[in-house]
């Protein structure tokens, strides 16, 4: 009787199905009291080797069909939303990357008129000028109408070109 209580406790509270299965097969199948008690629980009915009753073939096939339908409806819908969610997330991130990239590619083109300096805005400028490691004063000459700007680095020793 104590053994019965122990096995019933195992069957009732153990989360692992294989242990439950082992407890049923090891004890409950042999013990009529436990078999009766287990038979009352719906979820374990299928695990018990209940005495088979003769059934009509039509009813049997109907039951098989119903069971198969039930199994299919139970298994199929669960992963679908997850897959769909993954695809939606992937598609969304791809679209986001595409939009951001296109924005960066085309934005400077649109911005050009404001951002690019006008020819007249930028003037020729010498910020730093060193000849032979010593600060020097350059000679600058820009002929009228020419795009050339001539700069001569006056050597600290020799201040003339010729």
């Amino acid at each position: 009787m104590a053994a019965c209580k122990f096995y019933q406790f195992l069957i009732r509270f153990l989360p692992l199905t294989w242990l439950k299965d082992w407890a049923i097969r090891h004890h409950a199948e042999a013990c009529p009291v436990c078999t009766r008690k287990l038979a009352q629980k719906e979820e374990v009915v299928s695990l018990l080797p209940l005495p088979t009753k003769p059934e009509k073939a039509q009813i049997l096939w109907l039951r098989i069909h119903q069971r198969l339908e039930q199994e299919r409806t139970q298994t199929e819908p669960s992963p679908r939303p997850r897959v769909r969610l993954k695809w939606a997330a992937a598609g969304l991130s791809f679209c986001l990357v595409l939009i951001v990239s296109l924005f960066f590619i085309f934005y400077p083109e649109k911005k050009k008129p404001q951002a690019a300096p006008e020819a007249s805005e930028v003037h020729f400028q010498i910020i730093r000028f060193q000849v032979k490691d010593r600060p020097a004063a350059p000679v600058i000459y820009k002929p009228f109408g020419s795009q050339l700007i001539f700069i001569w680095a006056q050597s600290p020793k020799n201040n003339s070109i010729n």
């Binding site: 930028v122 020729f124 000849v131 050339l148 700007i149 700069i151």
Partner: protein, 314 residues
């Protein structure tokens, strides 16, 4: 099934991002055309006919539009600086991108070696004045002698769009040299350029930069940055074509040359062609011998650029 679809989606996204970033790099590259001239103050001095310089990408050379003819440029330099003559030593195109902000071009001639470093400056005056800083450059010219480096000129300048800066300076022994600097803004910042030109430049930069950094199939290294072009030890003068002589033609041919581990020329390719002189230049360069280049303790073949000038004596 899902894994396969996810993998293809990731691959497509990666491909798209790669294209996107390469297009950004190409658009943000600043292109500079450098021309190096030598000035003559006296009649007796013979200018060098051969200049060996750092590797130039043929794609860049072919694509960068030249706004000013070198002949016109040298005439103006000669007039402004009151010189007897001005000779073009070499021409080079360099590209500066967000990843490569400085570029060094080394050229050697007549046992003289010079290094020109161009770098983009993203600080200081241009930024403060709320002006796009693509045209603010730091130019440094130094004369090299073995491991010794003598700075000749260092400057930080802002060049207005569509202008060319011609910087004149003297070598250690007082000879006048000129560096002309043509600056082409990045594709996104171009002013008044035609669409065709923009497309040409963008394509040129992408291929040029990538190709310029890599090693060739034969294992030869391109002379870029710290890798200097080899030293010429045996030179055979090019034969001036009779027909060109009769017509009074002069010209400058730029070739890409490759040496083997012994310093022999194994390959040449024309970068800048003057049809009358191309064959004579190739035949001469193929007979030259360079000092074997030792890179990281091992002899290696080097790819570099050779400028051959054809000038009539009178």
């Amino acid at each position: 099934m899902f894994k396969k679809k996810a993998a293809s989606l990731i691959f497509l996204t990666g491909l798209f991002l790669a294209c996107f970033f390469s297009s950004l790099v190409a658009q943000s590259s600043l292109l500079c055309k450098l021309r190096f001239y030598e000035g003559l103050r006296t009649i007796g001095y013979e200018t060098p006919t051969v200049v060996t310089s750092s590797y130039l990408s043929p794609l860049i050379t072919a694509n960068i539009p030249s706004s000013l003819d070198p002949n016109e440029e040298r005439k103006q330099i000669r007039r402004v600086f009151n010189l007897i003559d001005v000779r073009l030593l070499t021409e080079a195109d360099v590209a500066l991108s967000a990843f490569q902000k400085a570029m060094t071009h080394v050229l050697s001639f007549d046992h003289r070696e010079m290094a020109v470093t161009i770098s983009q400056v993203w600080r200081g005056v241009a930024s403060r004045a709320n002006v796009s800083p693509w045209n603010q450059l730091e130019v440094s010219i130094a004369e090299l002698s073995g491991q010794e480096r003598t700075p000749l000129l260092e400057t930080e300048i802002i060049i207005p769009p569509k202008n060319v800066a011609v910087i004149g300076f003297e070598s250690r022994d007082g000879l006048p040299y000129f560096l002309s600097l043509h600056v082409f803004p990045p594709a996104t910042e171009k002013l008044g350029e035609t669409k065709e030109k923009e497309e040409g430049v963008v394509g040129g930069v992408t291929g040029g930069v990538i190709g310029g950094v890599q090693t060739s199939e034969s294992g030869a290294v391109r002379a870029i940055g710290n890798i200097r072009p080899p030293q010429l030890i045996k030179k055979v003068n090019p034969i001036y074509p009779e027909e060109a002589k009769k017509k009074g033609l002069e010209g400058v041919v730029i070739l890409e040359a490759e040496t083997d581990t012994f310093g022999n020329i194994v390959r040449t390719q024309i970068l800048r062609s003057v049809p009358e002189f191309d064959q004579a230049a190739i035949e001469a360069v193929r007979q030259w011998k360079y000092a074997p280049a030792i890179i990281n303790g091992k002899p290696r073949g080097v790819i570099f650029t050779v400028t051959v000038s054809f000038r009539l004596k009178n």
